[in-house]
């Protein structure tokens, strides 16, 4: 049941892939535009996934099976450089030389990782043995053993939660949603690989909201002996052997704590993507208070934008887990189809209430 409709999906991460799959199933031609030379986005750099420890590559494979449809035109190493309204749809220019027309645009530009060098006090980019959660995944993926830069087996490893999230000074007041449980997952993985290494997680709150997350957290403590210390890291410095000296306050004990670890892992948060900003400027898309795209409504119109014919899916509107992203992508596909085929469902209106009052800003 081919239709003559086309949709451009901007971003070939998991949201873009799954949305493309579901759009194509309705007979819509999809241009899946990805700036890198591979589909899969950030998931390609992640080894195993919480809470089940499934391999990320299995999910990528599942999603790849979806985008094999004939009416999905995958455009790799492609960047949207211009967009112009044309009738009800858009004329889009890719890489300065390819022009195409789309009846609707689905933006799936995802997120960027917080730049940990912004928290200079944690020493990322300064001390050799300070790495980020993303670096740790790359080490896991490489299959190499986790070692200090000096080539030693780490005896103690610290993981710091909320780096660049819930941090007014860093300018990000929101919760990145995935780091708490990633911290628990990575701590367990370290323990699985190196049972004799002591692992400490420093947290403000542990938000185990998802199904099975709490069980994972419990397992981390009961079966793996991972120590969870409530307190935000105040500063890190380096000792002569390359060890990282941590100054933390244990807020449950009410005492300052000094601890030297061999490797420090920073659980970096998710921030609005640079790509979102560029694409947003082309279409005139509105950002919310935290810099992610602003959806038309917080509860109901969660895939609609302020621009007619442009929709959102995935982590470009807020940090999301893989589960959430896939669900959101399918919802977006449905919303785009409703728009293209004039379903009554999109005619519904809801009174807008601003979220700005939550913040002391305008």
């Amino acid at each position: 049941m081919d239709t003559n409709k086309t949709v451009a999906v901007i971003g070939g991460g998991i949201a873009g892939m799954e949305a493309a799959t579901f759009l194509s199933a309705r007979g819509i031609t999809v241009y899946l535009i990805e700036k890198e030379d591979k589909l899969g986005g950030h998931l390609l750099d992640w080894e195993r996934l919480f809470p089940t420890m499934r391999n990320g590559s299995e999910v990528v494979k599942f999603l790849m099976d979806g985008v094999k449809a004939d009416n999905i035109k995958i455009m790799l190493s492609s960047k949207l450089t211009a967009a112009e309204k044309s009738g009800k749809g858009y004329n889009l220019r890719i890489n300065e030389n390819v022009d195409l027309f789309a009846d609707a645009v689905l933006v799936t530009t995802g997120y960027d990782l917080f730049d940990a060098t912004k928290k200079e006090e944690y020493g990322y980019g300064i001390y050799d043995n300070v790495i980020t959660s993303a670096d740790l995944e790359k080490i896991f993926m490489s299959g190499k053993a986790l070692q200090t830069k000096q080539g030693n087996v780490p005896k103690k490893i610290g993981l710091v939660h909320c780096v660049g999230s819930r941090d007014e000074k860093a300018g990000n007041v929101y919760c990145s949603k995935v780091c708490c449980v990633t911290g628990v997952k990575q701590a367990i993985e370290i323990k699985q690989k190196m049972p004799y290494t002591e692992v400490f997680n420093f947290y403000m709150d542990l938000r185990m909201y998802g199904m099975h997350f709490e069980a994972l957290y419990k397992k981390a403590q009961a079966d793996f002996g991972i120590q969870f210390i409530r307190g935000r890291l105040s500063e890190a410095s380096e000792d002569q052997n390359g060890g990282i000296i941590l100054k933390v306050e244990d807020t449950l004990m009410g005492k300052p704590l000094k601890l030297t670890v061999d490797i420090l892992v920073l659980l970096i948060g998710l921030i609005p993507a640079k790509g979102s900003k560029e694409v947003g400027e082309l279409f005139g898309l509105k950002n919310g208070v935290n810099g992610f795209y602003k959806t038309t409504d917080q509860h109901t119109l969660t895939n609609s934008s302020n621009v007619d014919g442009v929709f959102f899916a995935g982590a470009c509107t807020s940090p999301k887990t893989i589960t959430n992203t896939i669900t959101d992508a399918r919802a977006a596909a449905s919303t785009v189809a409703a728009y293209l085929f004039n379903y009554r469902s999109l005619e519904r209106k809801i009174e807008q209430n601003e979220d700005f009052w939550l913040y002391n800003t305008k």
Binding site: E120, E121, Y127, P256
Partner: protein
């Protein structure tokens, strides 16, 4: 003796004013410390009195400082002050000639034209009339300027002028009336008796053509006298209190009196009442520009005078010192605000015992003690640069707070907690002296300020690292390979306005690369917004202040933004896409081993 009933309002007003002023000043002098009182008596019989008179002439009459900042405003203030002063002085001399008496009534010079119709009474009488008319003309122009400033402040380059309270408004209205009324009264009299000068006579002759001057004359003089009376009565409760008070303030300053570090005295009363509410501080205030709070220096002092100051107002300030910098009266508003905070500060008990477990001090005897400070520990690139420089140059140093530290005490002081700060300072001082170092180098201007001003080391020279690095470079120990990167330098408030260190960082940066000037620098530099002096300030507002300051700094599109304060570095790093570096990092990168 010349007399008419209309002289009474003026005379009574003047008398009341004198009584109020004298009683206030006596009260404030009593509130001075004994030592300060002694200083002020002694200086009466010294050269300092002449210095004070000279400065009063320059500042209270000529208004040199306002001239420097804003020429139009300077002219207005000068003509008002000097003009009125000359009107009184020359008028008095003139009246003494007319009356041929050395001691005549105080109101005689004021109302001379009413009583004295003969302008040819003595050889220079006409000369006097011409001079007096000229002064009156200048004063009338000044009045027009003053009125226009209220309504067209942009002419004077001001975005905002001071909002006035009722006392000020009445005094202002009467002041606006005084000179036009004098002009009208004198013209009316001249129109009848022909005793005016080129201005008043001309005007009087014109008025005579269409006004019944004889019946209006007395009324005009009554109005003039009443305007004076009203001004005198409201002066002590208005901004114009600065006119008499500043004279005493200048004298006290010359006598060496100042506000002590720990409490406010009568001296700050003299300072507070010397504020003319000129409003130059208003446009300087980044915080009010961003947040809309009306707690700039002028309003803070106004609240202080009216005794309605709330704790919030004392904290609504970054203590960047820009208002103190611009103040033409030289009021140390930053200090007054800080000491007011102390009055509001709650008693707090601290327990520093846990330090014993955390801090392990290096007891080696060394040449240089290096104190990074808390903020430097949060910007470790700075401490890596400094310790790297020490090592490469083989300088025997001791990193005092390497393994944890005691705070220098200034953040507590900035919050008003002087007593608690003292405890920290004592302990810290003991630790620093124990290093045996002759030089104490710190990377943090906040620490530098308190080490230098309040620790009172006997044998230790305190240097900020920008001074120290510049010194090493001048001595030839530190050699640099400059590169082509374009740099702009941000003056930290605590290092610049508070400590007057402007040149050493610039000198060393010029030797390290291309330093390009920025629009607002040195004592006019903006605050980065990170100030520790305003803890209740929301992060959002802080970021706004930072971004605005950053935009100006990055206007010349530099490759890097350089500063000399870990707090400024941290604050700007959070909002800047251009790399932000400390001066120590720049030097460390470019030094030749």
């Amino acid at each position: 003796m010349s007399f008419d009933w209309f002289v009474l309002p003026f005379s009574i007003g003047a008398l009341i004013l004198i009584v109020v002023l004298i009683s206030r000043y006596i009260l404030w002098v009593i509130k001075l410390s004994r030592a300060d009182r002694r200083k002020s008596w002694r200086s009466v019989f010294s050269f300092k009195l002449f210095q004070a008179v000279w400065e009063v002439f320059n500042e209270s009459l000529l208004h040199r400082k306002i001239f420097r900042v804003n020429a139009l405003l300077g002219w207005m203030h000068m003509t008002f002050a000097l003009g009125w002063f000359l009107l009184i002085v020359i008028g008095s001399v003139e009246s003494k000639f007319h009356k041929e008496k050395v001691f005549n009534m105080p109101y005689d010079p004021i109302f001379l034209r009413y009583f004295e119709h003969d302008v040819h009474g003595f050889w220079f009488a006409e000369g006097f009339t011409t001079i007096m008319d000229t002064i009156l003309l200048l004063l009338l122009v000044a009045t027009i300027m003053a009125v226009s400033k209220r309504f067209f402040k942009w002419i004077y380059g001001m975005k905002r002028t001071t909002k006035l309270h009722p006392g000020d408004q009445i005094a202002l209205a009467s002041l606006w009336l005084i000179f036009p009324m004098r002009f009208i009264a004198e013209s009316f009299t001249a129109g009848i008796y022909g005793n005016g000068g080129y201005l008043t006579q001309t005007a009087g002759d014109i008025f005579a053509t269409f006004l019944p001057l004889k019946s209006l004359e007395l009324g005009a003089w009554w109005t003039y006298s009443s305007a004076l009376c009203l001004f005198f009565l409201f002066l002590p409760f208005s901004r114009y209190m600065h006119i008499p008070t500043e004279v005493f303030l200048i004298y006290l300053r010359k006598a060496g009196v100042k506000t002590p570090d720990n409490k406010l005295t009568g001296f700050s009363e003299f300072e507070t009442y010397s504020c003319s509410r000129c409003g130059l501080c208003i446009d300087q205030c980044q915080l009010s520009e961003t947040t809309g709070y009306d707690d700039q220096a002028v309003y803070f002092l106004q609240k202080l005078r009216r005794n309605i100051l709330q704790e919030e107002s004392s904290h609504n300030c970054l203590l960047c010192g820009k208002c103190t910098n611009i103040c033409p009266v030289g009021i140390d508003i930053t200090k007054i605000r800080l000491l007011k905070r102390t009055e509001f500060a709650p008693e707090m008990l601290f327990n520093y015992r846990h330090y014993e477990n955390v801090i392990h001090h290096d007891e080696r005897k060394v040449d240089v003690a290096y104190f990074g400070g808390c903020m430097t520990h949060l910007t470790p690139k700075i401490k890596i640069a400094m310790t790297g420089i020490f090592r490469k140059l083989n300088i025997r140093y001791n990193f005092v707070d390497e393994n944890g530290s005691i705070c220098c005490g200034r953040p507590l002081k900035l919050a008003g907690n002087h007593m608690q700060a003292r405890d920290l300072m004592q302990e810290n001082k003991r630790i620093i002296i124990a290093t045996g170092a002759k030089i104490l180098v710190t990377s943090c201007p906040i620490c530098y300020n308190i080490f230098k001003n309040e620790y009172k080391f006997d044998k230790i020279q305190v240097l900020h690292h920008s001074e120290y690095l510049n010194l090493l470079h001048k001595e030839g120990a530190l050699k640099l390979t400059p590169n082509e990167e374009k740099m702009v330098y941000h003056d930290p408030c605590e290092l610049g306005r508070m400590m007057n260190i402007y040149e050493p960082p610039r000198e060393i940066l010029e030797k390290s690369g291309k330093l390009i000037p920025v629009q607002k620098e040195k004592n006019f530099a903006d605050c980065c917004g990170g100030s520790l002096a305003n803890l209740p300030l929301s992060e959002d507002n802080r970021r706004k202040v930072s971004k605005e300051a950053l935009t100006k700094l990055l206007a010349p599109s530099p490759d890097i933004l350089v500063t000399a304060c870990p707090l400024c570095k941290k604050t700007f790093s959070n909002v800047s896409d251009t790399p932000v570096k400390d001066i120590a990092e720049v030097v460390y990168e470019r030094m030749i081993e």
